[in-house]
């Protein structure tokens, strides 16, 4: 089996490019992410973060270039990639009309979790995410934080090697955000899972990510640990300063709400 072993990176991105009409959303991005790394992607809305990770999740074919995720090529073996990754999209992916348990059951079946293990894995995953008591309530009645934890639990049932989280803490209060991050860190520490996380909150990216890439207009404009990115900006510099310093004016003016993001994605969808 030509699978990634711990000495090879979990994700290798080579010249990955995606064009929508006359907009180059991701422009020749190359990047390696190591096994067990928590990798943060930051950048203004419309910078190409979501497009990049949707290509890694094989939901969008690249215009050119390729990447390998968990040892499989996203262009040549998308189905194999999907077996080895977990993906939590920015939008709500749990079904509000199903209970937490039923949502988990759907994922377990789609990922081919053997019947004999299904119930036990679902129960323990829900317990680990603090959802044991609400397993049989409709997901529509969950709070934002509970939904995110349910979605993360759904994407972990098949024990993926790489977990991709697109803005997992968007719209959550600080307590709910901390709970989500606690679970993410636990997964990395206990199971050596690789994580790719996007966020607009510089503090959490700085606090939790091993390395960070700043993306602007489809290109990586800075890459390294938080300390490396801040080096040379003075002792009191924050990641916010790095962001403001490197992101060119026009795009960051559009920086904003969830609604903006949705509108951007709608526009990209129309282009596609």
């Amino acid at each position: 089996m030509d699978r990634a072993v711990s000495t090879t990176p979990a994700v290798v991105i080579k010249d990955l490019t995606r064009v929508f009409g006359d907009l180059t959303a991701v422009d020749h991005v190359s990047l390696d992410i190591g096994v067990g790394e928590i990798f943060g992607l930051i950048g203004p809305n419309g910078a190409g973060k979501s497009t990049l990770i949707r290509m890694l999740a094989t939901l969008l074919p690249p215009t050119s270039g390729t990447a390998s995720v968990a040892g499989f090529d996203i262009v040549k073996a998308p189905a194999a990639v999907r077996r080895h990754i977990g993906y939590v999209p920015q939008l709500l992916s749990a079904d509000a009309a199903l209970t937490g348990f039923e949502n988990m059951l759907l994922s377990a079946r789609l990922y081919g979790v053997p019947r004999a293990e299904r119930r036990e894995r679902i129960t323990s995953a829900l317990a680990r995410m603090g959802l044991a008591d609400s397993a049989h309530h409709l997901a529509g009645q969950y709070s934002g934080g509970m939904l995110r934890r349910l979605e993360i639990a759904q994407s972990l049932l098949h024990r993926p090697e790489v977990l991709i989280l697109d803005e997992p803490t968007v719209g959550l209060d600080p307590t709910a955000r901390d709970t989500v991050w606690e679970r993410v860190l636990e997964l990395r520490d206990r199971f050596q899972r690789t994580m790719i996380v996007t966020s607009h909150l510089m503090q959490e990216i700085e606090k939790f990510c091993d390395r960070i890439a700043l993306i602007d207009r489809g290109r990586i404009v800075a890459l390294g640990t938080a300390a490396e990115l801040k080096a040379g900006l003075g002792p009191d510099a924050t990641l916010d300063d790095v962001f403001i310093g490197l992101v060119t004016g026009r795009e960051s003016e559009k920086e904003g709400s969830y609604r903006d993001v949705r509108r951007n994605r709608q526009a990209l969808r129309e282009h596609g």
Partner: protein, 276 residues
């Protein structure tokens, strides 16, 4: 079923054909079962959907029954109509599937499906089967109504099984067609317009409420390439004691199954694009 690392189905090449076929069916069933669970949580939709067949049979049917010579032979018009209305309710259930797919895309649920390793055709098939299950609930209502109206129904278990099969296949066919249209138009607003424009021609250019022999030639040609015609033909001969199939059951089933297979193959290619 899992490799040394505890990961299920680690590598496609390692798995036997039976394993893969079993997994395919499980994945299709996962999608259909989720839809059935949603119906169990909120069955109100099934009740509201029952209004339309009631109106067609009790208003349209009762009036038109006074016009003689529509239905062939000695078949009472209300009997003739019952099979057509059953097909119609299944069609209306199925046509709603495209808009549901767009809705799932807008929510994000679609990405849950598409990021899973399930083959796209298994996802499409699962949705199609769930349309069939929904439509079967309509069959129960139409049958109850038909009994009340004194329609000469056949209660032969084989016939009834045949009716169920035709409804499931027909619903799968039209829900998949609806999904393809959703993948082309991509927004709910555009779909609503097209859904309306599409449903009525499919319904009227068929033998649902009048025989093809009464149609002008150009409409006859349309009816003969309309899968609903074959669905109604099969339903009518299975459902009623006194009716026989005009095209033959083999032709009816062949047209329905072949069309569904072709549409499923097309939809499987287009479904991921809905998420781009």
């Amino acid at each position: 079923m899992s490799d040394a690392t505890g990961r299920p189905f680690a590598n496609t090449a390692e798995r036997s054909l039976t394993d893969r076929a079993g997994e395919y069916l499980l994945q299709s069933w996962a999608v259909a079962a989720a839809e059935v669970q949603k119906l169990i949580h909120d069955p109100l939709e099934l009740v509201t959907r029952a209004v339309q067949p009631v109106l067609w049979l009790m208003l349209f049917g009762e009036v038109m029954a006074r016009v003689h010579g529509i239905a062939p032979g000695n078949l009472p018009y209300i009997d003739y109509l019952a099979a057509g209305i059953l097909a119609q309710s299944a069609l209306f259930v199925a046509i709603f599937y495209g808009i549901a797919a767009i809705w799932e895309r807008d929510l994000g649920v679609l990405q849950r499906y598409l990021s899973s390793p399930a083959p796209r055709s298994a996802l499409v098939l699962g949705k199609a089967v769930s349309a069939g299950v929904r439509a079967l609930s309509q069959a129960v209502i139409v049958y109850a109504l038909a009994i009340l109206l004194g329609v000469g129904l056949s209660f032969n278990p084989l016939d009834m099984l045949g009716v169920a099969a035709v409804i499931v296949i027909g619903s799968a066919l039209f829900s998949t067609l609806s999904l393809i249209i959703a993948c082309i138009v991509k927004t709910r607003e555009r779909f609503m317009g097209i859904g309306q424009v599409m449903t009525m021609p499919i319904f009227f250019a068929s033998n649902a409420i009048y025989p093809v022999s009464l149609m002008p030639d150009w409409l006859k040609a349309a009816a003969h390439v309309n899968p609903l015609t074959y669905q109604v033909d099969a339903l009518r001969s299975l459902m009623l004691k006194a009716a026989t199939s005009e095209y033959g059951m083999a032709v009816d089933f062949a047209v329905l199954i072949a069309t569904t297979a072709v549409l499923t193959a097309i939809a499987a290619r287009m479904y991921p694009r809905l998420g781009y």
